[in-house]
Symmetry: C2
Subunit: 94 residues, 2 copies
């Protein structure tokens, strides 16, 4: 199992716009083979921080995800709304 | 549900030492009321990065966790092994 934490800090007022865009990305992604979970979270202390926390059956499933039509169309638009982003890909230790 | 992502970058060679310390913290924490999940992950590209990803039933359960004997004893020791750490507390958006 591969765990992904994709954290973004958004420009003022742009987090809401990103959430709208994420709706389609979440809907389509959850249908993909190998997608265990794909959920969007918001920092309780800083509403400009949105983080996608994902679980994939394999690195291959994650790689395929990043080549899908919905990912390659939507993520570039979302990334224009961000000040910065941070992506960590994890494996379980315990 | 409250989601916590506690990410740490460890001093050279200290991640293994931290993992040993985390064993007791994970064992004790999973027994706590309100703890839904409490799992340690390692970055696949940077083995000096360890991240605890947690789910709690409520902020109150998380607050109680941070006052437990095992947390207050073990976490300060682990934090001496880190270069830096980053804690985000999240609520689910979708």
């Amino acid at each position: 199992m591969i765990k992904v934490v994709a954290k973004g800090t958004y420009l003022d007022g742009k987090a809401e716009e990103a959430i709208e865009l994420y709706k389609e990305l979440v809907f389509e992604t959850r249908k993909e083979d190998g997608c265990i979970s794909y959920s969007l979270f918001r920092d309780v202390k800083n509403s400009s921080v949105l983080t996608m926390i994902e679980e994939w059956e394999s690195q291959e499933a994650l790689d395929a995800h990043m080549k899908t039509e919905h990912f390659t169309r939507i993520v570039p638009i979302i990334s224009k709304l961000r000040i910065n982003s941070e992506l960590n890909i994890y494996e379980l230790v315990m």
